[in-house]
């Protein structure tokens, strides 16, 4: 019998030099085929014909200083950011705070607190993240109520009908997101329940609110809600909008969470059952964490949509960021500068939505336990 051979794996070799490096990348990715070359050239043509003039108008030639429109009328080659600068407080905090300079510290402080809690959360290495989350979700809303709404500790009560601008957008979106998530989770679980009564209630709720336009809901919340309460009870307009938005948003969140729940293999619940875990423990420890992880993109998607949809509150006479910017640009003083108003409002919406999107991507990566390392 011959000797037994020993298996020795062949050593790895480096790839050929024409397959790596910057030149190879450009050749393979930008000019790999005729179609690809045409697309690349078209992109550069469009980029250079539109982007530099915009940058020139918006930044290089723009007007930044001054207190009235005379500055901008003297230099029409650039954007009039003077307008945004002068009306900054109105667009950000609304008429109540903009017209009471003594009270402007209130919204300013609340946003400083918010960002002080939020920004450390975005960094991987921050210690005690749990407390920051509790701070944002639990303490911050209470602080917001006492400082921005006021009425206690010598802080005057603000008139919510005069809330506006980014402050209103923020308040509506924050409450909508904060309340819609737990309600949505319960609705999603209810819709998958084995009990027909609970399942039916959840299905009817979800399909009703999902099938109705937000604009209709806000209108109904404004007109109909007071009819359900005794004559003396006055409901704040902003609170009514918050209720309407939460009802609407929870239906969407529920469907996003249900999608996640449906994607969890049946074996997960079975393994938990076989270990003797009851329904709620199974849900809290096994199915829900996995389902929420899967549905992060779609949940955040609905949150981003909500953040922008808050501008629909104009239907009930509330002026959010977009409407406040528009109102400011229609004043006698600043007539004609609506492009700047829309760009500024658009930029703030974009910054927040992009922030949410990035945060959700980080979260997904962090929670991905399937990676092999």
């Amino acid at each position: 019998m011959a000797d037994v051979k020993t298996f020795v794996p062949a050593p790895d070799r480096a790839p050929p030099s024409n397959a790596v490096g910057a030149f190879a990348w450009v050749r393979d990715n930008l000019f790999g085929s005729i179609g690809s070359s045409v697309a690349t050239l078209l992109f550069f043509y469009l980029f250079f014909s539109y982007v530099p003039p915009f940058v020139e108008w918006a930044l290089i030639n723009a007007n930044w200083t001054g207190t009235d429109r005379s500055v901008c009328e003297a230099n029409t080659a650039g954007a009039c950011w003077t307008f945004i600068n002068v009306r900054f407080e109105q667009i950000l905090f609304g008429l109540y705070f903009a017209s009471n300079p003594d009270e402007i510290w209130r919204p300013t402080l609340i946003f400083i607190v918010f960002f002080a809690l939020l920004i450390p959360l975005l960094f991987e290495k921050t210690p005690g993240k749990k407390w920051l989350v509790i701070g944002i979700l639990g303490v911050f809303p209470v602080l917001f109520y006492f400082i921005v709404y006021g009425g206690y500790f010598g802080i005057s009560q603000s008139n919510t009908t005069q809330w506006g601008g980014f402050l209103l957008t923020f308040a509506l979106a924050f409450v909508g997101i904060l309340l819609a998530l737990p309600i949505g989770i319960l609705l999603a679980l209810g819709r998958r329940s084995e009990m027909p009564v609970i399942r039916s209630i959840c299905v009817v709720y979800i399909e009703f609110w999902r099938g109705t336009p937000l604009i209709t809901i806000l209108f109904m919340a404004s007109v109909m809600l007071p009819l359900f309460f005794p004559a003396g009870v006055e409901f704040d307009k902003v609170v009514r909008a918050m209720i309407g938005i939460t009802m609407f948003q929870s239906a969407y969140t529920a469907e996003a969470v249900r999608g996640g729940l449906a994607a969890i293999p049946k074996g997960q619940a079975e393994a938990a059952m076989a270990l003797g875990l009851g329904y709620w423990r199974r849900t809290v420890f096994i199915t829900l964490p996995q389902a929420l992880k899967i549905s992060i993109p779609s949940i955040v998607n609905t949150f981003i949509a909500l953040f922008k949809d808050t501008s629909l509150v104009s239907i009930i006479g509330l002026l959010d960021l977009l409407n406040m910017a528009q109102t400011a640009s229609r004043s006698m003083e600043w007539k004609g500068y609506d492009i700047e108003a829309y760009l500024f409002a658009g930029f703030i919406y974009w910054a927040f939505c992009y922030g949410m999107s990035r945060y959700s991507q980080n979260l997904e990566r962090k929670l991905d336990t399937n990676r092999r390392n």
Partner: protein, 257 residues
């Protein structure tokens, strides 16, 4: 009897599982027909049969992952009914290992093993972790305790799944095709763990087609087809002298390669 390689049969105890005239339907489909089965403490039963014969359904009835419509199942003195408390009492005493492992992918190996002892048995966390490490050592992967299931091979995952069940200190272990989803090189490591369990006197019901394992470990081999128990016998008799032509056909098909 002295020449057989079969594991020495320990003294079998009293009846721990008593199944009486069990019938189950999926809609119109009659999946289990008049099943009678008594399992003694310490007994090791291998259940085999063609796919669709009801063997998985049968063992899934024992911890009520499937509900039955007629007949009775009594596990360690507790009858399985609609009563959720009884069901959870039984599940606490009956461990199960699945074909696809069903580890919890968002928890580490150690957390997989301690979750149920902590929340169901109310074991203190420290103690649960010590127990878990002991069982992870027993299945020979203590060094993987802080990894996630997705980072392990199939064989390692199945061994974790066995350790996870053992952490609940069960009186009966159910195995539902535990090696069917594994690569050939990994089957042996899982079977080794199962043989070790059998040597320690664990009551086991295994749905498997690993006939070498059945010969070595089982006290009794059961052959099912069409939702019925066709034949059951000691492994030597079962393999060498099957009484039913359906059993003979099945054995000739799985043993001819």
């Amino acid at each position: 009897m002295t020449t057989e390689t079969h594991m020495a049969s320990a003294e079998l105890g009293d009846t721990i599982i008593k199944i009486d005239r069990l019938n189950k339907w999926y809609g119109q489909f009659h999946v289990l027909k008049d099943i009678d089965l008594d399992v003694k403490r310490g007994e090791r039963i291998v259940i085999c049969g063609p796919s669709g014969s009801g063997k998985s359904t049968l063992i899934r009835c024992i911890n009520r992952l499937e509900t039955h419509q007629e007949g009775s199942i009594i596990v360690d003195g507790i009858e399985l009914t609609e009563d959720t408390k009884h069901i959870n009492d039984v599940r606490r005493e009956v461990g199960m290992v699945f074909q696809h492992f069903n580890l919890f992918p968002h928890l580490t190996v150690l957390e997989n093993c301690t979750l149920a002892p902590i929340w169901v048995r109310k074991t203190p966390k420290r103690e649960a972790e010590e127990t878990a490490m002991r069982y992870l050592e027993r299945v020979k992967i203590p060094e993987q305790a802080n990894k996630y299931p997705g980072q392990l091979s199939g064989g390692q995952q199945q061994r974790v799944a066995i350790a996870r069940s053992l952490c609940m200190n069960p009186r009966v272990m159910l195995f539902d095709e535990p090696t069917s989803a594994l690569d050939p090189e990994m089957i042996a490591e899982v079977l080794d763990v199962m043989v070790g369990l059998a040597e320690d006197g664990m009551t086991m019901l295994c749905v498997t087609h690993e006939m070498g394992f059945a010969r070595k470990v089982a006290n009794r081999v059961i052959f099912m087809d069409g939702g019925q128990i066709v034949e059951q016998n000691e492994p030597e008799e079962f393999f060498n002298n099957p009484q039913n032509d359906r059993t003979q056909l099945f054995l000739s098909q799985i043993l001819q390669h």
